[in-house]
C-alpha cells in the first residue's frame, strides 16, 4: 500500500509546486490592484528559458535565476504598457500570454527531444530518514522547499510589514493612496515584477523538474489555473497553498485513474482539473460579500494621477 501511496503524494507535490509559485506571484500583483492575465505566457517563457540555460550551462541554479529574470522581463513589458501607457489590463494580459507562447515555441525549436535529468533532490539530514514522513516532507528539490518558504514570506510581507500594508492600501484605493503621497505606479510596478518572476520560476519547475524536457505549450493552461486559484483563495496566501495542493491532487488523481483504465475517455479525465476550477469558482463567487471584502477594490482599474 505504502509503495503506491508515497509516490502518489510525491507527484501531487510536484504538480502543485508550479501552481503555487505562479499563484503566489499573481496574488501579490493583484493585491496591489493589477490584474495580469499573462501568467500562462510568463510561465511558458520561464520554462523555455530555464531549459535552454540548463542545456547550455549545465547549472540548475543559473537556470532558475534565468527563468526568474525572464518572467520579470515579461511582466515588465506588461507593466510598462498598463501602468505607464494606461493600456487596458485584460487585453494586454491576454496578449502577453499569446506572445509568450509564440516566443517560447520559437526559442524552443532546437530543444525538442533534448533530455535533462531533472533538478537534484536535496535530502535534509536526519529529518529525511524518518520513515514515510521523511520521504514525503524532507526529500525534495530546492524549488519545492522554496515554494513553501515563499508562502510564509508573502504572508509575513503582506500582513506584518509596513510595505505590505502600503501594497494592500494601493490595491484597495489607489486614489486614497496617491492622496497620501504613496507612489502608486512604482508599487504596482514592483508587485507586477514580483508576479512575473514567480511565474517564471513556476514555469522553470515544469521544464526542470516536473517533466524535464521541452514541449511546446508545456504549461498546458496551468497559468489560468493559477489565476483561478487566487480567486479560489480569496486573495489569502495560506489558502493559495491549500488550493494549489488540491488542484495538484486532482491532476494526479486524473492521471492515476487513466492508468488504472477506468472506463472514461481520457479527454474527459484531462478536463477534470479545469472543470473543478470552474465549479469551485462558481461556488466561491456566489458569496459576493466574501469576494468584496477580500478582493482588492481597485483590481484591474487604470490609475491616472492628476498631477
Amino acid at each position: 500500500m505504502m509503495e503506491l501511496f508515497i509516490p502518489a503524494i510525491l507527484t501531487i507535490i510536484t504538480a502543485a509546486t508550479p501552481l503555487l509559485f505562479a499563484a503566489l506571484g499573481e496574488l501579490v500583483t493583484e493585491k496591489s490592484g493589477v490584474l495580469n492575465l499573462g501568467i500562462e505566457g510568463m510561465m511558458v517563457i520561464g520554462a523555455i528559458t530555464g531549459f535552454v540555460t540548463v542545456h547550455l550551462t549545465g547549472s540548475a541554479t543559473l537556470a532558475i535565476l534565468a527563468s526568474l529574470l525572464a518572467g520579470a522581463i515579461m511582466s515588465s513589458i506588461f507593466a510598462v504598457l498598463v501602468l505607464k501607457l494606461h493600456a487596458s489590463q485584460v487585453p494586454t494580459g491576454l496578449a502577453l500570454t499569446i506572445f509568450g507562447i509564440g516566443l517560447s515555441a520559437l526559442i524552443g525549436q532546437s530543444m525538442i527531444g533534448v533530455a535533462y535529468q531533472g533538478l537534484p533532490v536535496i535530502s535534509i539530514p536526519v529529518l529525511s530518514s524518518i520513515p514515510v514522513l521523511g520521504e514525503l516532507l524532507f526529500k525534495h528539490d530546492i524549488l519545492v522547499f522554496m515554494s513553501i518558504v515563499m508562502v510564509g514570506a508573502v504572508m509575513w510581507f503582506l500582513y506584518r510589514t509596513r510595505y505590505g500594508l502600503i501594497l494592500r492600501a494601493v490595491g484597495d484605493s489607489h486614489e486614497a493612496a496617491h492622496a497620501m503621497g504613496y507612489p502608486v505606479i512604482k508599487i504596482r510596478f514592483l508587485a507586477t515584477l514580483f508576479g512575473g518572476a514567480m511565474s517564471g520560476v513556476g514555469g522553470a519547475y515544469l521544464s526542470l523538474a516536473y517533466s524535464p524536457l521541452w514541449v511546446e505549450q508545456m504549461t498546458a493552461g496551468r497559468g489560468w489555473i493559477a489565476l483561478a486559484l487566487v480567486v479560489f483563495a480569496t486573495w489569502r496566501p495560506g489558502r493559495v497553498l491549500l488550493g494549489a495542493y488540491l488542484f495538484g491532487g486532482i491532476t494526479i488523481l486524473q492521471l492515476h485513474a487513466q492508468a488504472l483504465g477506468i472506463g472514461v475517455p481520457s479527454q474527459v479525465m484531462s478536463m477534470l482539473p479545469y472543470l473543478a476550477t470552474i465549479i469551485v469558482l462558481v461556488i466561491i463567487s456566489s458569496d459576493r460579500s466574501r469576494i468584496k471584502l477580500n478582493s482588492p477594490a481597485s483590481l484591474g482599474k487604470s490609475f491616472h494621477p492628476s498631477r
Binding site: 509596513r162 500594508l165 502600503i166 494592500r168 492600501a169 484597495d172 484605493s173 486614489e175 486614497a176 493612496a177 492622496a179 497620501m180 503621497g181 504613496y182 459576493r288 460579500s289 468584496k292 471584502l293 477580500n294 482588492p296 477594490a297 492628476s306 498631477r307
Partner: protein, 512 residues
C-alpha cells in the same frame, strides 16, 4: 516682508490652469496661528484646487507659499505634513478593507508599532470627544466615524495647520455641533484651521475670517462677524440670491405612491437591508427624506424605481397599480420617474452622448421607438428641448455625458425626467455639487412639478434643502423610515434626532 512673520501660512499669487480652465488665478491667502479661516466659494470656484496646492497634491503654475514667514516649496503631501500641514479630505482617503489603526498608520510618515499607535488613537479620541475603536474595519463604520479617523490621523501628526474640505456635508446636525466644539477647542490650543465650505451659516458659527473665491479669483478677505449671510452670499455668487418662492398647493390630492414594507434584503454585507418602510405621497406635495449617507438611501431609490424588485406586488402601489414585482420600465410607464444620486454611471451613461442618454429613460413614455427602431429625429428634438428649457451649458446635444460639469449634467438629468411629465418623481440628492443658482432653479422646478399635481419625493442629505422645499419630512436610518411630520411643525434638531434613529413620540409633544 516683515508682515509675513506673524502669519503661519501666506499664499501669494497662486495660479493653476488645467486644460481649458483657469482653476485659480492670482489668489492670496493669510492665516494666523489659532485662527479658523474660511475658504468660501461655489463649486468650481477653485477652493479644492487651492488647498491641493497647499497640501502638495497639485503643483502651482505660479505663486509663492510662505510658512512661518519662510518661503517654502511643497511638492508632495509628505512635505506638507513635514511642515505641519494636515488635511481632512471631502472624500475620505480611507481603505475599506483595512482596520482603523492600519489606515491611520498609512497616513503617518514615520512607522511605529501598531499597538502603540492604537493606544495613541484611543487617547486622542477620548481627549477630543471623538469615540473610535482602533481595531474595527473601516467598511463597518458610519460616515461620521470615518471622518473621525481622518481627523485623528491629522491630529496625531501634531499639525500647525489643519485643512478641512467641506467636512460637514456628511454629518447630522448633532454631529456637526460636536465637530464644531472639537474644532474650537483645537483652535484655542493654537491650531490654525482652514475651513472650506459653501455653507454660510457654518462659517458664521465657526470662522473668524473668510476668503471668498469666485471663478478662480479671490474676491475679498473679510471678517465674518462684520458680514451677514446675505453679503457673504452676494460675494460668493456675484449677485444677490433670489428668494425661494414656494408655489404651494392648498391641499394635497389623492394618493399617488404608497409603499408598504417591500422588505428587500441587503445585496451583501456592506449594503443595507430595507426593513420598515411605510410611506405615502399624495398629488401636489413634496415629501423629504433626510438621513446620513449610507443609511439605505440608494437601496430605497432602487426599491422604488424598480431596480430591485420586491416579492410582493402590493408592497409598492403607483397610481393604484400594484407594481412591487415590476421592473423599471413598467414602473416608468405607470408614471414614476426617478433621478439617482450618482450622475455618471447611474443617472447617465458617461460615454454616450446626450441624445442617447435622453432616449434611455424616455423611450417608453414618449414613444421614441418606431417599427422597433429608434426615432432619431424625435429623440434629438427631445434632447435639444431639455438643453434649452433647463439652460444646460453644453456645446451641443452630441457630446458625451461625461464632458458636462456635475451641475449641468444634473440639470440635464432632472430636465429629462421632468419633461416626461411624471405623476411621481423620486429624486436623490437633487442639488449635490450644483452651484447655488442652478440649485435654486432645480428646487423651484420640483415645487412647480408638485404644484401641477405630481407627487414628489426628495431624498437628500442636505437638511436645509429639505426644510425649504418639503411639505412633510422624515428620515431614513439603518434602512428604516421614520414617521413623517409637517415641515412647519418640526425643528432642525428634531429632524436630527430622526436621522439618528430616535423616535420623536417619546418625549416630544407632537404638534399637529
Amino acid at each position: 516682508m516683515n508682515s509675513t512673520s506673524t502669519y503661519l501660512l501666506e499664499l501669494q499669487g497662486m495660479r493653476k490652469a488645467f486644460p481649458g480652465v483657469l482653476a485659480t488665478d492670482n489668489v492670496d491667502l493669510k492665516i494666523k496661528p489659532g485662527e479658523v479661516h474660511a475658504l468660501l466659494g461655489e463649486n468650481g470656484a477653485g477652493k479644492s484646487t487651492l488647498v491641493k496646492m497647499i497640501y502638495g497634491i497639485l503643483k502651482a503654475d505660479a505663486g509663492s507659499i510662505y510658512f512661518n514667514g519662510k518661503p517654502v516649496e511643497i511638492n508632495s503631501p509628505a512635505q506638507a505634513r513635514e511642515l505641519g500641514i494636515a488635511m481632512v479630505f471631502q472624500h475620505f482617503s480611507l481603505f475599506d478593507s483595512l482596520s482603523v489603526v492600519e489606515n491611520i498608520s498609512l497616513g503617518m510618515d514615520h512607522a511605529c508599532s501598531m499597538d502603540e499607535l492604537a493606544n495613541q488613537i484611543t487617547e486622542l479620541s477620548n481627549r477630543y470627544g471623538l469615540p473610535l475603536d482602533p481595531q474595527r474595519h473601516v467598511y463597518t463604520l458610519s460616515v461620521g466615524e470615518r471622518q473621525r479617523i481622518e481627523i485623528i490621523r491629522c491630529l496625531l501628526q501634531k499639525p500647525k495647520l489643519l485643512v478641512m474640505d467641506e467636512p460637514t456635508s456628511v454629518l447630522t446636525p448633532q454631529e456637526v455641533d460636536k465637530l464644531f466644539i472639537t474644532l474650537k477647542r483645537l483652535a484655542e490650543e493654537g491650531l490654525a484651521i482652514l475651513y472650506i465650505s459653501h455653507k454660510l451659516n457654518e462659517i458664521k458659527a465657526l470662522c473668524r475670517n473668510a476668503t471668498v473665491l469666485r471663478h478662480g479669483k479671490k474676491i475679498d478677505t473679510v471678517e465674518v462677524d462684520e458680514e451677514s449671510t446675505q453679503t457673504l452670499a452676494a460675494m460668493m455668487m456675484g449677485r444677490e440670491l433670489k428668494e425661494f418662492k414656494h408655489p404651494r398647493k392648498s391641499e394635497p390630492g389623492e394618493i399617488r405612491l404608497s409603499v408598504n414594507d417591500p422588505h428587500i434584503p441587503a445585496a451583501d454585507k456592506t449594503g443595507i437591508s430595507l426593513q420598515i418602510l411605510n410611506l405615502t405621497v399624495r398629488a401636489g406635495e413634496v415629501v423629504g427624506i433626510s438621513g446620513v449617507a449610507g443609511n439605505g438611501q440608494d437601496e430605497l431609490l432602487a426599491a422604488l424605481n424598480g431596480e430591485k424588485r420586491s416579492s410582493r406586488a402590493d408592497s409598492i402601489i403607483i397610481e393604484g397599480r400594484a407594481v412591487g414585482r415590476m421592473g423599471p420600465n413598467e414602473r416608468r410607464l405607470s408614471g414614476l420617474a426617478s433621478v439617482p444620486e450618482k450622475r455618471l454611471g447611474h443617472g447617465a451613461v458617461p460615454d454616450m452622448d446626450l441624445v442617447e442618454n435622453a432616449f434611455l429613460t424616455s423611450f417608453t413614455r414618449l414613444r421614441l421607438i418606431r417599427y422597433g427602431l429608434i426615432d432619431r429625429e424625435k429623440t434629438v428634438e427631445f434632447a435639444k428641448k431639455i438643453i434649452r428649457n433647463f439652460s444646460v451649458k453644453t456645446p451641443g446635444s452630441d457630446v458625451p455625458a461625461s464632458s458636462l460639469s456635475g451641475g449641468n449634467l444634473q440639470k440635464f438629468i432632472i430636465g429629462r425626467e421632468l419633461m416626461q411629465n411624471p405623476e411621481i418623481l423620486i429624486v436623490s440628492q437633487p442639488t449635490w455639487g450644483v452651484d447655488a443658482g442652478a440649485a435654486l432653479t432645480i428646487r423651484q422646478e420640483l415645487r412647480e412639478l408638485a404644484a401641477e399635481g405630481a407627487a414628489v419625493l426628495v431624498i437628500s442629505q442636505d437638511l436645509d434643502e429639505l426644510l425649504e422645499i418639503s411639505d412633510r419630512i422624515g428620515a431614513i436610518c439603518g434602512g428604516r423610515l421614520s414617521r413623517f411630520y409637517p415641515t412647519s411643525s418640526i425643528t432642525t434638531e428634531q429632524v436630527g434626532m430622526l436621522m439618528a434613529g430616535v423616535c420623536l413620540e417619546e418625549g416630544m409633544p407632537h404638534v399637529a
